[in-house]
């Protein structure tokens, strides 16, 4: 094998490996938090208390993986997704959890009133002063919180 051919072969191998790494990086699926440890676990009342009285500490929880314990208020299902509303019947305020589609089946038997523990990324919150929505905390990529 002459030198030129060896260089060409080496270049091709590096290019193929490079393309493979780039494609793997670009097509990496969204993070799976099901096996990750939560930073802290809060009750529904704890979180709502933060929305009302301590938004500074709630803001610090944005983009963090946290656990939530509470009661199911509403379950919204379609063929590809499940969204849970956690709260109680005495207030409009609630926590909205978009369930990670990869773990949708873990939540298939839930109904309003069931106790639930989930973990997910806090994406934001809304303090409602005039519309009648109640306060809302939103979470993404939620999965079961196993103790």
């Amino acid at each position: 094998m002459n030198k030129k051919l060896a260089y060409l072969l080496g270049f091709l191998i590096i290019a193929i490996v490079g393309i493979f790494i780039v494609l793997k990086f670009v097509n990496k699926p969204v993070n799976d938090y099901s096996s990750k440890e939560v930073k802290t676990t809060f009750s529904f009342a704890d979180i709502m208390n933060k929305v009302s009285n301590d938004t500074a500490s709630l803001t610090e929880l944005k983009d963090q993986l946290v656990g939530i314990e509470g009661l199911v208020k509403k379950v919204t299902n379609d063929s590809t997704s499940t969204t849970l509303e956690i709260g109680d019947t005495t207030s409009m305020s609630s926590i909205i959890c978009q369930i990670d589609a990869r773990y949708k089946n873990d939540f298939s038997n839930l109904k309003p009133g069931d106790a639930i523990a989930v973990k997910g990324i806090i994406t934001g919150y809304t303090i409602d002063t005039d519309l009648g929505f109640g306060n809302t905390v939103e979470m993404n990529y939620c999965t079961q919180l196993k103790k």
Partner: protein, 181 residues
């Protein structure tokens, strides 16, 4: 007897019209289709409120609640395009102009014309949009499909991916609202 029935009918009709409808798990998805890449995001935690008496309509959308199938898209969407830490929410505040012509006591599909202020990426624009309002078993379903021109809301696309990203984005709204008890 007739008077009693009539009174009951009027009271019932008034109660329906005074009703507010709410969801916090509505759906908004978008599709950006360009020759090289298709980008789809979906948010199933959209809050929407309709006041049947006044016709007022409000939407609140947390930008970081959009879900993608690829991690890189999610990061680019939040950090490079929507700057979601700086502009965490998109909102619509307006009215269903023809609310009075929609009979919320009768199941069916109605045309709805909405107008109001749409705020995305910190930019507020007056918009008017046609959509559908379905009445079904006491619930209402709002359906609308429209396009958003990214430049209208100062959403800039980095030069390196300019050809990959469409300049306008197709947005689909579907929210099922329950009456507030």
């Amino acid at each position: 007897m007739k008077k009693v029935l009539l009174s009951l009918l009027v009271i019932t009709a008034f109660q329906v019209n005074a009703q507010k409808y709410l969801t916090k798990s509505g759906t908004i998805d978008f599709l950006s289709k360009a020759p090289l890449e298709t980008i789809e995001g979906v948010n199933k935690s959209v809050a929407a409120l309709v006041d049947a008496q006044t016709g007022s309509l409000d939407f609140i959308v947390q930008i970081k609640s959009f879900v993608f199938d690829r991690q890189l898209l999610q990061e680019h969407f939040n950090e490079n395009y929507m700057e979601s830490t700086k502009f965490p929410k998109a909102t619509f505040k307006g009215n269903i102009e023809n609310m009075k012509s929609i009979n919320l006591t009768k199941d069916g599909e109605y045309d709805a014309i909405t107008s109001g202020k749409l705020t995305i990426h910190g930019v507020t624009k007056d918009v008017k949009q046609k959509g559908k309002l379905l009445v079904k078993g006491g619930k209402i379903v709002l359906i609308s499909n429209f396009s958003v021109l990214l430049a209208d809301y100062n959403i800039s696309i980095p030069g390196a991916v300019k050809d990959k990203i469409s300049k306008d984005v197709k947005v689909n709204v579907k929210c099922t609202l329950d009456p507030i008890k």
